[in-house]
Assembly symmetry: C2
Homo-oligomer: 220 residues x 2
């Protein structure tokens, strides 16, 4: 059964982006720090069209996600950039280039209908205007036996979590405190509490990979 | 060298207490959930004057902290209760009873001078009115070769962290999302980012123990 998995890098104080996001610094001040651990990995570089790179336990975790993913769901701002001009223009181009790193069908949640874009290397962007559940349904169909990866942003993640549609969460916890003003992954969740079950912990010098199964969501 | 160690249970979304703290529910809605893992442990029950209990990997982590702690620093609301009448009365009695679970000297940060209280079982409460650094100095002197435990609350923890006085952080991450309105451990921290180094991860079915060394604080 295809699962919906949220997979994100996060600071120890719970931020997925730093304060003051701009076009030049789309991850906010200090936000790049959350992804440093991944840039040198062979398993990250290869889907990004880059040669070489390191093989280590972090790389294995990334490769596992790459191998398991048959489709991706993301928010519109993650497709086209979260700051500046792009944030306000629903028809903005994606910022992922001609050969995006996904190499599977991507379903973009948006309020504005537009044509599917087929890119090189197996990536396509399909724009879904009838809500989170519909996007997930299309992604599941595209993924076949593989899983659906929920790529973000934080608001989209919260939407799926709160709707009880998220099956697993993998957080790559980076040992830094980004401080006030950033984008929190878990913000504005409504009680009652959502229970999870820890299924795995993998530790490296640069990041701690925490994996959870969502056992009791808000709905249903 | 005596270290200052912050040791707290925290939800996966970063809360140390749930929303709507009251006298009857001092940890807020769902807040008790953060401490369920500890109540059944022999190493927690013994200092609380309770018999029996389980021995397991979580218990070892707790025992390690008990053994290492030579003095405690806490905020005034943690001494006398964080909600209702107690929160507003700087002369309120402590809520720790005649034989508190600390069994070492405790230094309480407050704005109101009052006499030291000596309790049964080795616990004393000394009230420090000249700031966080002075309280730490007194606690260090009392701890001898042992460490100083920073018991909370969140505002006091932030104060020490931001002042560059915190040496280590141990977070017991409980797999629950408490949702909006609770008390966040890391809230209102001012940039620049604070770097930590992961020194240990211990995993059990009910909680993940993350231990960090603070490598670069804000000051100095």
């Amino acid at each position: 059964m295809t699962k919906l998995i949220l997979d994100l890098s996060i600071s120890l104080d719970g931020f997925v982006a730093g304060p003051n996001q701009t076009l030049e610094a789309p991850l906010g001040e200090g936000g790049e720090r959350l992804h440093e651990w991944v840039f040198a990995l062979e398993s990250w570089r290869k889907p990004h069209g880059l040669e070489g790179g390191e093989r280590n336990v972090d790389g294995d975790v990334v490769q596992e996600s790459v191998d398991a993913t048959g489709a991706v769901v993301m928010g519109r701002r993650m497709f086209s950039g979260g700051a500046g001009r792009w944030a306000d223009d629903p028809n903005a181009d994606g910022w992922w280039g001609d050969n995006p790193p996904f190499h599977v069908p991507v379903f973009v949640l948006t309020h504005h209908a537009r044509e599917t874009e087929v890119k090189d290397g197996g990536t396509s962007f399909t724009f879904v205007t009838d809500g989170a559940e519909a996007a997930l349904e299309q992604a599941r169909a595209a993924a076949g036996d593989a899983d659906v990866s929920l790529a973000g942003g934080a608001d989209v993640a919260r939407q799926y979590l709160q709707a009880g549609l998220l099956d697993e969460v993998q957080l790559h916890v980076v040992p830094v405190l980004l401080g006030a003003g950033g984008v929190r992954l878990f913000d504005g969740l409504e009680p009652p509490p959502i229970e999870l079950e820890s299924t795995r912990v993998i530790q490296s010098p640069s990041v701690t990979h925490l994996r959870y199964r969502v056992t009791r969501g808000v709905a249903p």
